[in-house]
């Protein structure tokens, strides 16, 4: 039988939150019994993206991780409350709304995707829009409104699904032991680290970007990944597991002595800004204002504004 599965691709998510809004649109003010009671208007989101950042400005990567009920086949919630959490034959997990009056139900989900409706006094969660699917809709609301189908439902036999998981390299958001029916693509944007940085060198007293330099990531002296610096002299190596420990960047450029930069990956991404061939370090990618900048500013100000600025700074001193 064709069963419910979902793919969430982090690379395709634009952070529009349409999924959350469509879920609210469908379920706030509408009750779809026997599938579910109305959703609470505010908070208690059955699906919601969360923005996460890696790195630091201007080497920042932003991604959204969307969470919803994972419709697990080995569901901790159903194990603990087998009469409340009921699996449909298509794999969708539902809550029996008549039996969901216990606030402890919320804690039964390790993903935090069972919410408590304060107004109705019952536990609720995503139904996979089963009321619509049973009525002939092809997709749940969150998927139908997703601009790039970063959320995608796949209704297929479980063995077909296993092939899709393997072919597309889908990953569960945790360890997978709960056998979730929701799997993620490009999850490394969320759970892996990167190293980014800039390479430069001095030529005739001018700092130049080192373009197309060879950049290697060394672990224990062995190259595990390789790239080139780009048109701005910047490089980017991603998908480094957290807590990988000490490693090195080796950058090679023309006649220069290769740069070896040591760093450690704990839980955060690393920025090496900026490495200079021939020794020393390059200018940082963001140069903070200093007195020199103030002087520069005055040179280019309309005279009357410049005069006022001079006076303000003089007053301050």
């Amino acid at each position: 039988m064709k069963k419910f599965h979902m793919i969430i691709d982090l690379e395709k998510c634009v952070g529009c939150f349409n999924c959350m809004l469509a879920c609210k649109d469908e379920h706030v003010g509408n009750k779809w019994l026997p599938y579910t009671e109305e959703q609470q208007k505010h908070e208690d989101k059955w699906i919601c993206p969360t923005m996460t950042e890696r790195g630091e400005a201007p080497y920042t990567e932003v991604t959204y991780v969307t969470r919803l009920c994972q419709h697990c086949d080995n569901a901790p919630c159903a194990k603990k409350y087998p009469d409340v959490f009921v699996k449909r034959s298509d794999g969708v997990m539902l809550i029996d709304y008549r039996k969901a009056k216990n606030k402890d139900l919320v804690d039964a989900c390790p993903y935090g995707m069972v919410s408590w409706n304060e107004e109705l006094g019952c536990a609720q969660k995503c139904t996979g829009c089963s009321h619509l699917i049973d009525d002939g809709w092809k997709e749940p609301r969150c998927v139908q409104t997703c601009p790039l189908r970063a959320l995608q439902t796949v209704y297929c036999e479980d063995n077909e699904w296993d092939k899709i998981v393997e072919k597309q390299g889908l990953k569960p958001i945790t360890d997978g032991s709960n056998k979730p029916r929701v799997m993620y693509k490009n999850l490394y944007f969320y759970n892996k680290c990167f190293v980014k940085g800039a390479l430069c060198f001095d030529q005739d007293g001018i700092e130049e970007a080192a373009i197309d330099a060879k950049v290697e990531l060394l672990v224990g002296g062995i190259c595990v990944a390789q790239t080139q610096s780009d048109f701005l002299g910047e490089f980017y190596i991603d998908r480094i597991p957290k807590n990988s420990g000490k490693m090195q960047i080796r950058a090679t450029y023309g006649e220069f002595e290769p740069i070896i930069a040591d760093f450690e990956i704990k839980t955060k991404s690393v920025v090496l800004d900026a490495l200079k061939f021939g020794g020393g370090s390059g200018k940082p990618a963001v140069i903070l204002p200093n007195e020199h900048a103030n002087e520069q500013a005055l040179t280019h100000m309309i005279p009357k504004d410049a005069e006022a600025a001079r006076k303000a700074f003089a007053d301050k001193k």
Binding site: G15, D25, A57, G282, K283, P289
Partner: protein, 1007 residues
């Protein structure tokens, strides 16, 4: 063959016509009674008046009169001189044309215009009777609800438009169940395909929506809706008006009659007492959608009928382009915008590099275009085109497309651009042939850039201390750009961008034009474009946009003159008062100052040099304010002023016609509750603006033209804006003048009949299905690429009527809209206007902000704040109103029960101030204080912070709106921004030159 004499022919025709008229009128009473039996609602309307009505020919040769008594109609042949209402037809022929059940609206309008039909009697009764006749023609739609698509489960599926994309609206029992984007069906046209670099690229067959469209159902059912006419409790129109309490005291419910009587009496009193100009009207920013019942249609028609001082809007998305960029290359009809045609295909096929500069279409949906452009920007990575994003904030587009991010300090972009040009000049990395043949005045600019005039060679090193971007990055960027075919993506479509809304933002837009000119604008792969605007859709299919004037009849100040007026006959309408007030100086003007400004004109580049004054000669200062649509407070700078202006006696009367109780609605004496466009009829097209953004539907993956069904009855006692204006017009004897006796539905149908829609789908089909997808062009029929004609020295071949013929200084259509006809590095328009204007010289220069690093306020305030257009609301539309949009944790932040507007600052800056994620912070400067929720982020570098403009409300903690030392609690960030113009001779805002400081809020729980 028998030949009838002319006389005999005319005579027979006369008898024929008379017979038909007689027949129709003979059946009229019976018909009305039958319809009354079919629809209780219609029966109710029949009962509204107990009167007698005479229909007759002018010469009394035929007549029939009707008695309406308790909803029953009876008719009798003959003339009854005592009838209350009288409808007179000039002759048999006109009577026949008008009374035939299947008749042409065109004939009806013409007959009315020519005096061939006359309607006499008291307004209310005459109008009632006339509209009754019109309703007969639309009976099945208006009374039997014969429109929309019935779903198998009993729900009805309707269609409407929003400024975030069209929606399917599912309704059951007069309640909206859900709203969704539109998935096209098998009957709808297939999508286009672009072949680029060996790949076939086709967008999916559906529409997309922006979050503020997906959240619309809750905006309809918002608890903040104005549902009943309201009067401020301490406002007594015949006694003390307590001006000082505007924005402070509460409201009480009154009847529609009472409200409309007060408003119409005040209108007469104010104009009689003070004369022309004394009524002021202002519309808001995009709270609705539709070609008929929206601000450039019904509101324009209404205010033209009244005669009003209008609020002149600054171009608050274009700014730098309107006041700067267009002097280099024209485009006045688009406020300095560029041609969009064919750029999506050209970019995907030919460009080798894309520079996004102050460009965030992912946040602003381009403009009105849902998430249509998103997939095209996904293709950037699919094709492997390198990109760089230049913006102080790592905006949503940069976050999604990825690539490299360069973050200059706000308002320093032109220094960065000039340094790029400097590298190109030193290293010869530009198209010398193009510059020589297709441009004018390059040497003048080159002298400046290389420092020959001021001794400063404007190298990448020069800009380093100004922008904060390392010289090596700028040099590397310049070299890559100078050696690769590059698309320059500015703003959300083209020619917008928050960098243009900063001190001397003109210079950023100008440098962008100069840079692209140096690389050969219009050559394959070299153009302006964000992949947002310029899809290969059919521009020949004619369906005008909302800014083309609707039924305004105003062919001067809407797009109607070019687009619509000649196709949809309507009585002309002109505002006889030429006094205006510039939006940015509105508070000063209202509070007694005389103001002078330059007004942006669209007809020519030089029209923006015209100086205007308020008060205008022969006009009176404004005494009454009629506010319609969204609030200015969230969107305009130094917004405390817009509260202050209400709280004194300079405005004797304020009426606010609003859907929601928020923002400026809080300051009204009378509130007229308007309904949303889900509760009324209209017609429109996805993302189609027309007028000042010609063919803006080219942002979409498909042209979707839709009828906007009346999905539900208006909530509470709210009414369509159209109908509110109608009722006031009725009280002033203007009912026919305002609407030509037509309802909103009638106008929507007339609009349809005027357009190419009529050729492809019947009205009945259209209102059943609700939308039509215009088939895209096959490859051979696609529009030529923007400016390709110019690059190749040909006659203009892009599909637009602008510039106006007189804007060509040589042969028509063979040049750009500049005096030389070429891309001008030295702008002759500016040179002629004021060659010594140090704030806007004939060449593009870098001018440091009066409010940036090293400026006077920098001594006290060290953080540079930018406040671009918002992502989760369209200006104020979508924010607050107690909807789930506020649950988006990137839109507002819930702390202690209050949803704070989000203020973003760099993690290190926050740490230095002892602040952390989720803190309530007070953002302040000399202009004001605003409470926000703090988001610490690496999406801004140190020294820069970010918070969107356009909070929908304005509430002070001290309940003293406009007060000097007040704290705003809803997040109206424009309380902090400067009111100074971007350059002195421009009516443009400079909100992104704003210095602030931030501290933790210690004032306890608010809200």
């Amino acid at each position: 063959m028998t030949t009838l004499s002319q006389e005999t022919l005319e005579k027979s025709l006369k008898i024929f016509n008379k017979t038909i008229v007689g027949g129709t009128l003979f059946t009229l009473d019976k018909l009305l009674n039958v319809l009354g039996g079919l629809s209780p609602k219609f029966k109710q309307e029949l009962k509204e008046h107990n009167i007698t009505v005479q229909l007759r020919l002018r010469d009394n040769s035929y007549g029939r009169w009707f008695t309406f008594q308790d909803g029953v109609v009876s008719g009798r042949d003959g003339i009854n001189k005592d009838c209350i209402v009288e409808m007179i037809f000039d002759d048999e022929a006109s009577a026949r044309r008008v009374t035939a059940l299947i008749r042409s609206q065109f004939d009806f309008v013409n007959a009315a215009k020519q005096g061939q039909i006359v309607l006499n009697g008291p307004d209310a009764e005459a109008m009632w009777f006339s509209s009754l006749l019109l309703k007969v023609f639309a009976f099945d739609v208006l009374y039997l609800g014969n429109y929309g698509t019935k779903m198998p489960n009993g729900e009805m599926r309707y269609v409407t438009g929003t400024n975030g994309g069209p929606l399917f609206v599912y309704v059951k029992d007069d309640k909206i169940i859900r709203v969704t984007p539109i998935d096209f069906d098998n009957e709808d046209a297939d999508m286009w395909t672009i072949e680029a670099r060996g790949q076939k690229l086709t967008p999916p067959k559906r529409t997309t929506v922006a979050p503020y469209a997906q959240g619309w159902k809750q905006m309809v059912y918002s608890p903040n809706r104005c549902l009943y006419p309201m009067k401020r409790v301490d406002f007594d129109p015949d006694g003390d008006r307590h001006y000082e309490n505007r924005g402070v005291s509460g409201y009480e419910r009154i009847s529609w009659d009472e409200a409309l009587d007060i408003v119409s009496k005040e209108m007469v009193r104010v104009r009689r007492t003070y004369g022309p100009g004394s009524i002021f009207a202002s519309t808001g920013s995009h709270h609705n959608w539709g070609s008929i019942g929206y601000y450039l249609s019904c509101a324009k028609r209404f205010f033209n009928c009244i005669g009003a001082t209008m609020c002149m809007h600054n171009p608050d998305s274009w700014e730098g382009w309107a006041w700067g960029g267009q002097h280099h290359f024209g485009g006045s009809a688009r406020n300095g915008g560029t041609e969009p045609y064919g750029t999506v295909e050209d970019c995907l096929k030919n460009s080798e590099f894309i520079v996004f500069w102050s460009s965030d279409p992912e946040s602003t949906s381009g403009n009105y275009a849902g998430q249509e452009g998103t997939i095209r920007r996904e293709w950037i990575n699919k094709l492997g085109i390198p990109v760089v994003h230049i913006d102080p904030y790592q905006n949503a587009t940069a976050a999604f497309v990825r690539g490299r991010w360069i973050c200059p300090r706000p308002a320093t972009d032109s220094a960065l651009g000039i340094a790029i040009a400097n590298v190109w000049m030193h290293e010869g990395l530009y198209d010398k042939e193009y510059v020589e043949q297709r441009t004018y005045g390059f040497e003048k600019w080159e002298e400046y850039v290389l420092g020959k005039t001021d001794g400063i060679d404007k190298t990448p090193e020069w800009q380093e201390d100004i922008t904060g971007v390392p010289a090596r990055t700028v040099r590397a960027l310049a070299r890559y750009w100078g050696t690769h075919k590059t698309y320059l993506a500015c703003g959300s479509m083209t020619s917008f961008g928050s960098a243009g809304r900063a001190a001397f933002g003109t210079e950023w837009a100008r440098v962008c034009v100069c840079l692209i000119a140096m690389q050969g604008l219009g050559k394959p792969g070299v153009n302006f474009g964000t992949l947002q605007y310029g899809t290969p859709l059919d521009t020949k299919f004619w369906f005008p946009g909302y800014a083309d004037g609707g039924f305004s009849g105003d062919f001067m100040t809407s797009g109607a003159g070019v687009a619509l007026y000649n196709r949809m006959p309507q009585t002309p309408s002109i505002n006889s008062e030429y006094q205006a007030i510039p939006r940015l100086l509105l508070p000063e003007a209202i509070m007694g100052q005389e103001v002078t400004w330059h007004q942006l004109g669209v007809y020519s580049v030089h029209s923006q040099f015209m100086q205007l004054h308020y008060p205008a000669p022969g006009h009176e200062r404004v005494r009454m304010y009629y506010k319609y649509g969204g609030s200015h407070m969230g969107t305009q700078p130094d917004s405390k002023r817009y509260a202050k202006q209400y709280r004194n006696d300079s405005l004797e009367f304020v009426v606010n016609q609003s859907v929601w109780f928020e923002g400026e609605a809080r300051f009204a004496d009378i509130i007229l509750p308007a309904c949303t466009n889900f509760e009324r009829w209209d017609i429109g097209e996805f993302a189609s603006c027309g007028g000042y953004i010609d063919k803006s539907y080219l942002q979409n993956n498909s042209r979707v033209i839709f009828v906007q069904h009346k999905c539900i009855e208006p909530l509470g006692e709210s009414k369509a804006d159209f109908d509110i204006f109608q009722e006031i017009a009725n009280r002033l004897g203007l009912w026919q003048v305002y609407s030509e006796g037509n309802t909103e539905y009638d106008w929507a149908k007339r609009y349809y009949e005027a357009t190419d829609m009529k050729r492809v789908m019947s009205w009945n089909q259209f209102i059943k299905k609700g939308y039509y997808v215009v088939p895209p062009c096959s490859e051979g029929r696609r529009d030529p690429v923007a400016f390709r004609w110019y690059a190749e020295g040909r006659k203009k071949d892009t599909p637009e009527l602008t510039p106006l013929p007189s804007e060509y200084y040589g042969r028509y259509g063979e040049s750009l809209q500049t005096p030389s006809g070429k891309l001008e590095f030295e702008c002759q328009t500016l040179k002629r206007f004021d060659p010594n204007d140090e704030e806007r010289l004939p060449i593009c220069t870098y001018i440091h902000s009066w409010e940036g690093v090293g400026s006077e306020p920098y001594a006290k305030y060290r953080l540079q704040l930018i406040s671009p257009h918002s992502k989760y609301s369209f200006h104020t539309m979508g924010d607050l109103k107690d909807t789930c949009i506020n649950d988006i944790q990137e839109h507002r932040m819930l702390i202690d029960g209050h949803r704070y507007w989000i203020f973003r600052m760099n993690t290190k800056d926050a740490e230095e101030r002892g602040l952390k994620q989720g803190d309530i912070v007070e953002v302040y400067n000399d202009r004001g204080k605003v409470l926000c929720g703090l988001e610490t982020t690496e999406r801004v570098p140190q020294g820069i912070c970010h918070s969107y403009e356009s909070c929908a409300d304005y509430v002070t903690l001290e309940n003293d709106p406009g007060g000097d030392d007040t704290t705003e609690i809803m997040g109206c960030i424009n309380n902090l921004t400067p009111g100074r113009f971007i350059t002195k001779h421009a009516h443009g805002l400079s909100v992104n030159s704003c210095l602030v400081e931030v501290r933790k809020w210690e004032g306890g729980k608010v809200g």
